[in-house]
Symmetry: D2
Subunit: 288 residues, 4 copies
Amino acid sequence: MRYTLGCHLAYEVEAETVFIFNLEAARLTRHHDLRETFRLDPDLPVRRHVAPETGNRYVAVTVPPGRFSLDYEAEVTLDPLRADPSGIVETPVKDLPLDILPYLLPSRFVSSDRLTPFAQAEFGDVAPGFERVNRICNWIHDHIAYVRGASDEETTADETLLKRAGVCRDFAHLGAAFCRALGIPARFVSCYAYGLVPCDFHAVFEAYLDGRWWLFDATRQANLDGLVRIGVGRDAAEIAFSTPFGEMTATAMEIRIERADGAPETGERTVAAISTAEDGPDAEGGLR
Amino acid sequence: MRYTLGCHLAYEVEAETVFIFNLEAARLTRHHDLRETFRLDPDLPVRRHVAPETGNRYVAVTVPPGRFSLDYEAEVTLDPLRADPSGIVETPVKDLPLDILPYLLPSRFVSSDRLTPFAQAEFGDVAPGFERVNRICNWIHDHIAYVRGASDEETTADETLLKRAGVCRDFAHLGAAFCRALGIPARFVSCYAYGLVPCDFHAVFEAYLDGRWWLFDATRQANLDGLVRIGVGRDAAEIAFSTPFGEMTATAMEIRIERADGAPETGERTVAAISTAEDGPDAEGGLR
Amino acid sequence: MRYTLGCHLAYEVEAETVFIFNLEAARLTRHHDLRETFRLDPDLPVRRHVAPETGNRYVAVTVPPGRFSLDYEAEVTLDPLRADPSGIVETPVKDLPLDILPYLLPSRFVSSDRLTPFAQAEFGDVAPGFERVNRICNWIHDHIAYVRGASDEETTADETLLKRAGVCRDFAHLGAAFCRALGIPARFVSCYAYGLVPCDFHAVFEAYLDGRWWLFDATRQANLDGLVRIGVGRDAAEIAFSTPFGEMTATAMEIRIERADGAPETGERTVAAISTAEDGPDAEGGLR
Amino acid sequence: MRYTLGCHLAYEVEAETVFIFNLEAARLTRHHDLRETFRLDPDLPVRRHVAPETGNRYVAVTVPPGRFSLDYEAEVTLDPLRADPSGIVETPVKDLPLDILPYLLPSRFVSSDRLTPFAQAEFGDVAPGFERVNRICNWIHDHIAYVRGASDEETTADETLLKRAGVCRDFAHLGAAFCRALGIPARFVSCYAYGLVPCDFHAVFEAYLDGRWWLFDATRQANLDGLVRIGVGRDAAEIAFSTPFGEMTATAMEIRIERADGAPETGERTVAAISTAEDGPDAEGGLR
């Protein structure tokens, strides 16, 4: 399926601010024919960096005081791998590629060490495999309310569990935390999400099962078939769409993704396992 | 200066355990003529991984129930870069290499986001540069007591600040947290530390200043001249000397580092700025 | 039923220490014929205080350096009120005696405010009444493991929920927290507990329902019929059996409770609702 | 000095709500000639309770859906005890009245147990006495910024210390926490505060020194000479001006206190130690 997507961000910069943006569609084998434009107003020079281990695309720009805006537009054909969930097993720790180790460890917002007893008690006896991660998502969906404003940028997975409320970022952190606590590598994914209402940058998580990263969305708000990856990381800190250093105020933020053929969203949700990650034992090897 | 160093670790493994070790001396340009032996008893097959972005050397081994031990012995000539601290300035965020970004972000134990107000209030007005990080170390040394058992493996930098006590791991986390909170990239460093009494794996931190990573030890217990790096990472989680998955009990742990010529430690501490990190704008570029 | 009970505590006092003890059986209408001896060695002068709002019996003693021990022995006939749980309703907040208000509020270890979303989600839809509190106890019993050493003296109810483990103190804090979060007054109770193995000071909680305080033990380890109350309070801080100010080391601690007629414990557990609290709209009015 | 004071509170009640108010001036020996009116609109029946151990005046009212407002007006002559701070010593724990024990213990927001190392390190070597508590207030004033919105109703003293910001409630919690951590009883005080700009319910704390409760205001925003006490308690939870159970929205809130003779506030601050608490070894004995 081909999608058009993009965002418009505007800021009032009060004092020189360095922005590090991470909002462009990832260059993946399964992101076919990516065409894009990236414009800044004023048209300031940028520095670009693609993280070798993840493919995350960072753009840095130093902005003087005044109005500043960014427009990103892209078109991409998404060719996700679809698989039968029932055949997807967990990879034992002893068989995990060692470059995946960081995704087993606790990170700032994915406090998997604090959640280990909880995860073991709730999911320790569930049969390993794709379905166990699905059970984690169901549990989160049933126990955590999606409430705008319920969390802030310092909220950790254990806090979300107590508050029983959060937004997509929190659902993804909690899902990843439960996975890591069970010995399943998991990482945070930022994306454009077709079908999300209202449209916004979305966050889901990937679990590493059977030699591949698979997408999971505990919010159940978007179609896994329509997620265009921006970045992956240990947690939200690593792939914020905008990390500003300075003084500024956001004045506008619009995100969009539509089918390129203009067809309406049907609300149908896939039951297949979905992956857009690169192939290979070294999960992102294709990027290097 | 040439050092001999090594460790002996022994375990009683109760159920099959995957160990991921990170305890070998790093292969750095400034670690000359590194000679080493790594033996397991029983002599099990290992998998090795060198993380491309850090040079961290991971060894994984799957151990069946029973006794298990590891002996690592190495000899290395340490050739640290020495510099006059007074000439070392802070690198503005706008000039930072973008692959250093992760070391500005909060991580599990380096809760720099929670410590930003504290760091700004205590150190925000100090003139930028090497001396500011030195002031951070002095502050930690003066305000935090070195107390064995004061912390555990879940202790974060903000908790250490409240408890006013910790071990080397906590001093390094707090130092790194204050730096990141001020916009100075900082990372956790594990090492063999000549002069540390009693000898143990040591933890210090590095701050990125003036285009290079510099070593800092807020415990003031070891000589910066005699630190043989093992690994670097966001915090202790990433570079534990041993990350076990399974059931086992540690039964022995001996760490040692001595001058290869047998000369005694003098207790003298360098006043120069010290770095053993790789050269280049891409800090670890030499490793790739 | 008549019980003999008591404790022996011994300390090595390193520097003058003020002890505040709260370990004598409460003087309640339903504690018939209480006979007791309280001896200190050396025989130091004490100050006594009975808190008017709770009846808690505090004994303060200032102890010079050296050995110090306390022996308390008592005999009491316990005459609990037994009632059919099915007839016990919740008292609406609008009908609560106002002196009970403190037991609706969060306290240091009963962090009911942090647990309100969790309590509402798990128990908000359960029909009000004794059975709802029983459900809370069942939930805790099913979800929290009784593990010695799992907590320390700073552990709060929300931490226990995450750790999924604790001791009687933690079970009581969590039960009280869930109750308060639902608008049910609850307080922490310290007691001698007939049938507890091994014998120790025990902690349970009381919920205020239908105009009276009723006993609940989420550990299910003791018989509600055999609880001899020591003190009640907001949480463990208020009624520690010993609050020392100074420097000392505990060297012995023995607690006992037996049937006065020497009959063995049967292991049978009552299914009735049990209360030993005073009558009256002002719950402890009989004490004044 | 004679003051007129009062408040106007208005609510839109969406579902039946029980309000428990604690906003009337305390009836103290040093509050002379207190004249007051308390009106509700609609004029609903109230229940009143004066807590025997504190004199706190609680008013409960059950309000049906609709508009609801409360008007309290009072006139009182404040006759504080003034003393020379230099003569006020700390009362050793062994000489403290035992009914003061609760004010040495940690409570929900006064997390003195978590702050003990910090308090000991900063103030443990300061000479005991009134001046030590004054030093605590100076430290808080110098290190914590007064920032509206910096905290919420779950903020604890240790969090305020990390955030380096708060409002009067947080300043009082932190001051009380440092005191308790040093063995000085301290309690939270709500009051009308002459000279506070803008006028609001104010929070300060009292420390028990030399046999009496003395007022301290770490915000330095109000004159200790002009504080009309409403209530005292372990922390803010116990004496919220309004504790609602139900569904409602606050629509108006006006607080005022002026000199009855209309004289303007001079901005002068007393240098004397000030107390309005009751006399006697039992601190609030005069209330019973």
